[in-house]
């Protein structure tokens, strides 16, 4: 049977890249956050403007949406599941985020995330990410 070969080494590399991204976001290390993203990465985000084509666009709007968290906020990947192939991978997880705002109020949120990666040579990079929350439809009968 031609079952897909799952390289644990690739899976581990992808896991490290995503955990580094989460850590850089949590610690607000701006130079590190997009370190492993492809320059033309397509980013579907959870806050307006919702969509970025390329990491430069994402960097430019960083200040517009990044919450003014006091100190290190929470930004943890949960239930991370990775499907790493020979040269393409995808992963999904939840992100538990939160922190304290300047007025002392705290916020907490849970979002869903999908990451898609490509391998060039021995290096994986994030080609796409999609972060969202459920959206209740007006026609929903509940």
């Amino acid at each position: 049977m031609n079952t897909p070969s799952i390289s644990s080494g690739d899976q581990e590399q992808v896991r490290q890249i995503l955990e580094q991204w989460a850590k850089a976001t949590r610690k607000n290390l701006r130079e590190e956050i997009l370190k492993n993203h492809a320059p033309d990465a397509l980013i579907y985000d959870v806050l307006p403007p919702m969509k970025y084509e390329g990491t430069d666009a994402y960097r430019r709007s960083w200040d517009d949406w990044q919450p003014d968290t006091q100190g290190e906020g929470q930004f943890d990947l949960q239930n991370l599941s990775i499907a790493a192939g020979v040269d393409v991978a995808f992963a999904h997880c939840f992100i538990r985020c939160g922190g304290a705002l300047p007025d002392g109020k705290t916020f907490e949120d849970l979002v869903r995330a999908t990451f898609c990666l490509k391998k060039a040579g021995k290096t994986w990079s994030v080609a796409h990410q999609h972060i969202s929350k459920p959206f209740k439809l007006s026609g929903e009968k509940s």
């Binding site: 049977m1 031609n2 079952t3 897909p4 070969s5 397509l42 579907y44 403007p49 919702m50 969509k51 599941s81 499907a83 790493a84 192939g85 020979v86 040269d87 393409v88 991978a89 995808f90 999904h92 939840f94 849970l110 869903r112 999908t114 898609c116 490509k118 391998k119 080609a127 796409h128 999609h130 969202s132 929350k133 459920p134 959206f135 209740k136 439809l137 007006s138 026609g139 929903e140 009968k141």
Partner: protein, 139 residues
């Protein structure tokens, strides 16, 4: 599908996945339940537009379509543009922007543009959908 402009010649895998997405979207438009699940893996995981937060497995996935059909104007609109496919040897992903028409119990129509990400795996020579992420709004 309206995205006919390919910058590079498509590989066979890309062509196959594009056809898969077209078949799937057509099945949704025709409310063809068997067609909707035909290329999906039993263990797939769905992040849908409305709650629940996630749907794990094919049965839970099909429930999301019952919810969709209960809110969708008939005949069902379900179309994609900007379909971009990245196919590796054994794993692939696709991104697209979709369009459908929501209708509430009072008959108020609302066109919805949503984002789609799909994760696929080639199993026994066939591409299977392992993951779908649909979300709103698109812009």
């Amino acid at each position: 599908m309206t995205n006919q402009e390919q910058q590079e010649p498509s590989s066979k895998d890309e062509t196959d996945i594009r056809a898969l997405i077209e078949r799937w979207a057509k099945a949704v438009r025709e409310e063809n339940r068997a067609g909707i699940r035909a290329d999906h893996d039993s263990e797939m995981l769905m992040f849908d537009v409305p709650p629940p937060f996630l749907s794990q497995g094919l049965d839970a996935y099909m429930k999301t379509w019952e919810m969709f059909f209960s809110c969708a104007e008939k005949p069902v609109a379900f179309d994609f543009h900007d379909v971009k496919i990245t196919a590796g040897k054994d794993v692939a992903f696709a991104t697209a922007t979709g369009q459908c028409m929501d209708i509430d119990p009072k008959g108020k129509r609302e066109e919805l543009k949503f984002r789609l990400t799909m994760g696929l795996r080639k199993i026994d020579g066939r591409w299977r959908v392992m993951h779908e992420h649909h979300s709103l709004p698109a812009v």
